[in-house]
């Protein structure tokens, strides 16, 4: 087994890995290698042939492959090496990485810093316990997207979508455009989990019904799916007996959540935040293991590739600086308080952030109107950011400008909460 020494090794050549790689090179890292398990770089963007990418980062509307293509070309120009068709078997806390590939066999890499950019995977039928038989025709929306857009096949002709995450909404429209009969999108919650623009552009514009507070209780069919039992649920998500309805279909697409893919991270000893499912990171996206960084959907499930890029650039810079012994030390914790599912980063060194704006990502637990996001220390509100509305399906981004950052006391933990506008609570 050959051993190779690198400055920065990045796992995953999706938008996160490529963005981090480019920035690391720009910051002066010499040998930067991105490992990719698929046959091509680009990650999941390669199958996202719809538009809507790049509106924030490039101020123009691109398709997924176009967005990925820009970074693939930029990476090549920047001197980032990409090795595809290579699976990482193990990441050691010493930043040694073992891989397996058809072309190169087993390889050992030793890197000054490692960036985890493995993305996320979809929750499955069994994870959400849909009862019934086990026929063919039940797929996650992302897998169906790959079959349709890359492999050139359709799973069926009569489709039910469970879950109103963005992939579910996109795939409902995609199936309709392919001539399938889309019976509807079912969502357990009283609100959708996707971006508002996707509800409008994918469902409303194509007359695809959206059934809120309804779920699929059971699937039917021996060999191939023949239909599903849809059922209404109460506010707590409990099924309401007597509301069952048989919906004929040969295909059930699941868009019921994404899980950051952290098996390698866990085995390496990276500490995981149960709220995000991703590594606990500081403002430079370093994990608890010095020299191991993480960015993109492996840290938190983003709504937009553009945000992944922003986060990956932060990680790329830190990874490049780390090799020069300039790593930041974590000091203050940032906790998600009332009304928030999580905040990223979970840790910060306020002293090191002086003079730089601080970007916080967070997710609301419930949809609310007219709120303010408050930044607190020692139970006192230090900063407040009013927002017209928040919803769980759309990530909240708060940028604390350098001047405002001075309000925060170094050495004291930070709580971020949602408050009603004008009053305390």
């Amino acid at each position: 087994m050959q051993t190779y020494d690198l400055d920065v090794l990045i796992i995953g050549a999706g938008p996160a890995g490529l963005g981090a790689g480019i920035k690391a090179r720009e910051m002066g890292a010499r040998r930067v290698l991105v490992l990719e398990r698929d046959f091509e770089a680009g990650g999941i963007l390669n199958q996202c042939i719809h538009n809507g990418f790049g509106l924030q980062y490039f101020s123009e509307e691109l398709t997924g492959p176009e967005y990925a293509g820009r970074f693939i070309r930029k990476a090549a120009r920047a001197g980032v090496e990409v090795q595809t068709d290579t699976m990482v078997l193990e990441v050691k806390p010493s930043r040694e990485v073992i891989t397996s590939s058809k072309k190169y066999g087993l390889q050992r890499f030793r890197a000054k810093s490692v960036v985890l950019a493995m993305g996320c995977r979809e929750r499955t039928r069994d994870a959400i316990q849909i009862y019934g038989t086990r026929p063919a025709g039940i797929l996650t929306a992302g897998t169906a997207q790959r079959y349709t857009n890359i492999e050139g096949f359709l799973p069926g002709r009569q489709v039910v979508v469970l879950g109103s995450g963005d992939i579910g909404l996109i795939m409902a429209r995609r199936m309709k455009l392919e001539g399938c009969q889309v019976q509807g999108v079912y969502e357990l919650l009283p609100y959708t989990n996707g971006l508002s623009r996707n509800v409008v552009q994918c469902l409303n514009d194509f007359s695809i019904p959206l059934y809120l507070q309804q779920t699929i209780a059971r699937v039917h069919g021996d060999h191939r799916l023949e239909g599903v039992t849809a059922v209404k649920v109460d506010k707590k998500g409990k099924t309401l007996p007597g509301t069952e309805e048989f919906v004929p279909c040969d295909t059930l697409l699941l868009s019921v959540g994404l899980i950051p893919e952290n098996e390698l991270s866990r085995k390496a000893g990276v500490e995981i935040d149960p709220r995000t499912g991703g590594p606990i990171v500081n403002q430079g996206r370093m994990t608890n293991i010095p020299g191991i960084f993480a960015c993109g959907n492996v840290v938190q499930v983003h709504d937009l590739a553009d945000d992944v890029t922003v986060e990956s650039e932060i990680a790329g810079i830190s990874a490049a600086l780390f090799e020069r012994g300039k790593e930041t030390e974590q000091k203050e914790k940032i906790d998600a308080g009332k009304g928030l599912g999580y905040v990223v980063p979970q840790e910060i060194n306020l002293d090191k952030q002086r003079g730089e704006p601080l970007l916080l990502f967070m997710r609301a637990e419930l949809p609310r109107q007219k709120v303010k996001i408050t930044i607190n220390q020692e139970g006192k509100e230090k900063l407040a950011f009013p927002l017209p509305f928040i919803k769980p399906g759309e990530i909240i981004k708060i940028t604390i400008e350098p001047d405002d950052l001075r309000e925060l006391i170094p050495g004291k933990d930070i709580q971020v909460t949602v408050r009603g506008e004008g009053k305390n609570g």
């Binding site: 087994m1 398990r37 068709d85 699976m87 078997l89 073992i98 397996s100 590939s101 058809k102 072309k103 190169y104 066999g105 087993l106 050992r108 995977r121 979809e122 499955t124 039928r125 069994d126 994870a127 316990q129 009862y131 019934g132 038989t133 086990r134 026929p135 063919a136 025709g137 797929l139 996650t140 992302g142 897998t143 790959r146 079959y147 349709t148 890359i150 492999e151 050139g152 096949f153 359709l154 799973p155 069926g156 002709r157 392919e178 001539g179 399938c180 209780a217 059971r218 021996d222 060999h223 191939r224 040969d250 098996e263 866990r266």
Partner: protein, 491 residues
Amino acid sequence: MQKFDVVIVGGGVVGCAIARELSRYKIKVILVEKENELGCGTSKANTGLIHSGVNVKRDSIKGRLNLEANPLFDKLTSQLNIPFSRNGSLVVAHNRDDRQVLLHSLQEARENGVKGVRWVDRDELLQQEPAINPDTYGAIFAPTGGIICPFEFTLALGQNARENGVVFSLENRARKLLIENGRVAGLETDKGTIKASFVVNAAGIFADQLNAEENNEGIKIKARRGQYLVYDREYPVKIKHTLFPRPTEISKGIIVTPTIHGNLMIGPNAEQVEGKNALETTEEGIEEVLKGAKKLVPGIDNRGIIRMFSGLRAVADSDFVIKPAEKTKGLVLAVGIQSPGLTATPKIGEVVGELLQEIGLKLSAKSDFQPERPSGIKTGEMDYEKRDNLVEKDRDYGQIICRCEGITRGEIRDAILSPLGAVTIDGIKRRTRAASGRCQSGFCGPRLIELLREFAGISPLKATLRGGESRILKFRSKELLLEAGEDIADL
């Protein structure tokens, strides 16, 4: 017309064990199976336990065969080159009453010759299994209890039988026994008539459908359903032994066990179901399983589930029915093989061989019987050096197809090309564990379809989950638009 000495109906673990046993002798044997894979019925969907013999009755056939078969597994699994672990079982007492009953069972197990059984008190039990319900009164410990992959076991028996000359006819439904003058003359199948003087009915749940009038002797096979849950290997609740509650009248109760592949598995409940295809999971059933499992291990919940499934047990009577048919000469029944059927299989094979001999089949041993089945390559079990050397020789073992279980292209290729190879996605899954991990084929599904095309010549539109109408992809992109008469040149 094909001529054989013996036809075995049914390619489950029982049929395959009988096939392997008979392949020791100089006779012509054919096994017919209606599905395109072995082990598609009860054999693929059960708890995968090799029972120690605690809580069995020696005077029943199933009890006796269990006791006799358990010690055979070390040699058998080593010959067949399949993983097997004597992880030990614990039958746990939850109250004084349980303890009383189980102490009696312990005495019985000792009398039955179950090796190494002893009582463990609460402290030792909690030390051995910290996750167990602390509200316990001790347990019977049986070190000979074991775990196995039931599908791999079935396949290995089948492959070894085939290696020794048994003919396997898959996707071939047995239609009707041919009977002449009250004795078996052959079997009519979907693929033609097979002439034979001896037939073994090992058709599992469907055993009573083979010439019901002539030979069932009043036997009716009822399906008893058991539902199961399998957890992610990273699920935080860990146990080492197979945990049983005090058994009930009809079943061993809901069990908590590690699988041979290192997942936590719980189940089964026991439900009498109508029909022979009632393979669904239900809310009530899964809740019952969770409730039962929580009683043994309170930390178990419904997070981390990667698979729910149910299996059917063929129940004819309170016991196995293994005997020559009375009315039809030449027919041997090996039916109603409920729990502990998997454990008993090696002995069932032997017993059926003896019964065939008793009713006139001449058996003389082959000198060239090959009991060893070559082991397949499992890259996950190799250290990096070995693995690197392997990939040097064969690059297919370098490319990982299933990310969750780390299964390579080479291993999947082998599963397709080996004797009685995989022809479906489920077939690949059961042989290699590809697609059985936490993403449940989300990532590797498209690649497996491609490998079925490459190595089995199955076009993607014909690739199935498990045969029949279970096609995964039904149309090409744009096919529906063309069908609807859309002008797709503009799209």
